[in-house]
Amino acid sequence: MSEYFANIFYGLKSFAEGLQLTMRHFRNRKDLVATLQYPHEKWPIEDRHIGFPLEEYNIIRSRLNVDIDDCIGCLQCERACPVDCIKIETIKPPKGSDFDCGITSNGTKMKMLVARFSIDMTECMFCNLCTFPCPEDCIYMVGGPNSSKHEIEYEYASRDRESLIFQFANPSESDVLAVGGENYLRAKAGLPPLAPEVPVKPVETVSTATEKPTPTAGEPDVKVLNGITDRMVRATAKKAFMAAARGGSDLAAIAKSIQAALEEAGKFTDEAKAVLDSLAVTQTPTPVTVNEVSSEAKPDIKTLNVLEDKMVRGMAKKIFMAESRGGKSASEMVDAILAGLKEADKLTPETEAVVRQLAPEVPVSTPKPSAPVTDFNVKVLNGIEDRMTRGLAKKAFMAAQREGKSASEIIQTVQTALSEADKLTDDVKTLLLSIGGDKA
């Protein structure tokens, strides 16, 4: 009997003891918590124990980082990678380009522009093979002995893959163009590459074209000379052409120098003369056409929205689109629309007035494409030394240009603005005159 009660007592006692222990841990749960509600709670980084002091490691395989300013684009890391997660694209500046790719911190002169340097850390297997061949030590695992270059980073998990593809190179578009990366940009935008026969010289877009007021718009093309049948003559002509073109002379000068060279060699045949003439004729007008197209106020189809009659509007828009696809100018377009409407017997005076609105600027603006000519831009004012004066002049210049004034008018405006501010020094005056002199 007593054993029976003893068992019951013992059972209850152990039960109570167990509960007591549980309750004790329950009360002290703040001290005893072992689970961290990651990522809402984190150990502070400096307290995290990962073995030994960071600087005593040979290396820590945390994340790859690239000091892109030091990268010379040698592709050795790309070749070393067993999983091909490093992708590098480089652009070599064309011969004779004075584009400066920079110097690495080791003093190596960079020979190309690294247009793309991406590391896909989702593919990376942290084998560390890429960091060894790097001649400039610019690709490395962050943290550890490299803490001075980049602090340790081990928490870069992300919900989307894109943010784990690290893009290290980010050259500006103008830099890419400056090293002849036209095709690279086109490939990036999904466009087919330009035909290799027509190498687009980036000179037009970037080299600011202020120093040389040569008509660079129509690029002198040595191929014109292929029309010469005699081989000897052709070679001499081409040689002279290239020499002259390198010297930066314009087409007339080039033609002249070719002629001189041929005459000297006693090879100036009638045929060569004809070709040279054609060189001068075909190429000189090009800048003009280019200017016309670029400067012309583009006719806007929205102008036609004013037309009330739906039928008329539709018809007019249809003709408009057809004509604009055909690359016609605004005035031609207006004529076509008017003719089309007349044919359909829908031409009211109001409609005509609306349609004519498409073009009115055109006849006005075409004769003076001078303002936005390629080499007459605000940069010509960079010659002014005083900063205040330059700023004022540029301001006036831009305002005048926006109003669509011609070159001489702009210069006039700038002059007035400067004299009002009492900043019109002799230097500036000469500069303005020199610009205006060419253009007006």
Partner: protein, 380 residues
């Protein structure tokens, strides 16, 4: 109420039941599927089905440079990556005839023996875990962590090292590595006594493992079983001694074999005990190697692009699991024509159908645990 049940035995239909253990099962140590034919609770036939972790390692190697293969060998036996690196490097050095600096050999031996301890700790811990002893597992993983810390200090990685390269090692030992390794050994030696107290001589553990899954030496040799599993059967075969490579000829150590201390030779307990003793031997080796490590370069003069001469090589190496073999055929280019890997765990696993027959399912778990397989290496 003592009426006998009227069962006509001729009418009772008994049939074999097929059980699938895995591919996701805590005691299979990876994605292994065991198709078990059971008669009641007794295993009558067993078919290991592998290939769930197949990654085309050998084919993949035919498209990689020789130096790029090293990180992929890591991923075969991910519990003992250093050994896989070392085995490959050894094969390549034999193929190219490279003489490795003595310091490199010592470094390789030190990290190799540390790796052997780490690998055995996982093997023994999970073996106990399979049988139901949870505490030893956590203790062993805790101590393994110290080795992984040392490795991280050495090469930045905790599991997949890519440390031992063709013709050298990737980094020299860090400044305090030798001191820290000594500290670890001083810490670890008494730990092994605790493991013995906690698990090895535990009565329940002995009951579960002694006389279970006896692997006779002749069967083991016929199946190509190597490593501690073979030595558990009393066969004294260790490539570190019998085909000594690296710095092993200069170091003094014993090759422990199973003696049937608790049951008969070649049972699960013997295989366990051999691993336990091997850890002590590894500690001995490390201790000697740390004392006599020479100074010098850590890389032999190897061309940046490794191009071995035409020819082939078969080289074997004693890993924590047994004998790994690399057969490499080169045609003089920078990628191998063929690379064949002999996987020790593959052969060790194949013997299971022989030794597990007639044992109960619960014993099968013990037998599987004592073979210490790694599926990354079996499937590769």
């Amino acid at each position: 109420m003592s009426t006998k049940p009227h069962i006509d035995q001729s009418l009772v239909k008994t049939e074999e039941m097929v059980l699938n253990m895995g591919p996701q099962h805590p005691s299979t140590h990876g994605v292994l599927r065991l198709k078990i034919h059971t008669d009641g609770e007794v295993v009558s036939k067993i078919e290991p089905i592998i290939g769930y972790l197949h990654r085309c390692f050998e084919k993949h190697c035919e498209h990689l440079g020789y130096e790029q293969i090293v990180p992929f060998t890591d991923r075969c036996d991910y519990i003992a990556s250093m050994h896989m690196n070392h085995g490959y490097a050894l094969a390549m050095e034999r193929l190219m005839g490279i003489e490795v600096p003595p310091r490199v050999e010592y470094i390789r031996v030190i990290v190799g023996e540390l790796q052997r301890i780490a690998s055995h700790l996982v093997a023994l811990g999970t073996f106990g875990l399979d049988i139901g002893a949870i505490t030893p597992f956590t203790w062993m993983i805790r101590d393994r962590e110290r080795i992984l810390d040392l490795f991280e200090n050495l090469c930045g990685a905790r599991l997949l090292y890519n440390y031992i390269w063709v013709g050298g090692v990737s980094h020299d030992l860090p400044e305090k590595f030798i001191r820290r390794t000594k500290e670890f050994i001083d810490y670890f030696t008494p730990q092994m006594d605790e493991f013995d107290q906690l698990l090895t001589f535990n009565k329940i553990f002995i009951e579960r493992t002694a006389d279970v899954g006896i692997l006779p030496p002749d069967v083991a040799i016929n199946y190509g079983v190597t490593g501690p599993s073979l030595r558990g059967s009393g066969v004294k075969w260790d490539l570190r001694k019998d085909e000594a490579y690296s710095a092993y000829p200069e170091l003094e150590f014993d090759v422990p074999v199973g003696t049937g201390k608790m049951g008969s030779v070649g049972d699960c307990w013997d295989r366990y005990w051999v691993r336990m003793l091997e850890m002590r031997e590894s500690v001995r080796i490390i201790d000697q190697a740390l004392k006599s490590i020479p100074d010098g370069d850590v890389r032999a003069a190897v061309p940046k692009k490794v191009r071995p001469p035409k020819g082939s090589v078969y080289s074997r190496f004693e890993t924590a699991r047994g004998e790994i073999g690399y057969y490499i055929i080169s045609d003089g280019k920078n990628i191998p024509v063929r690379l064949k890997m002999r996987s020790p765990a593959f052969c060790n696993l194949s013997v299971i159908s022989e030794i597990a027959e007639g044992w109960m399912i619960s014993d099968l778990i013990a037998i599987l645990g004592s073979l210490d397989i790694v599926l990354g290496e079996i499937d590769r």
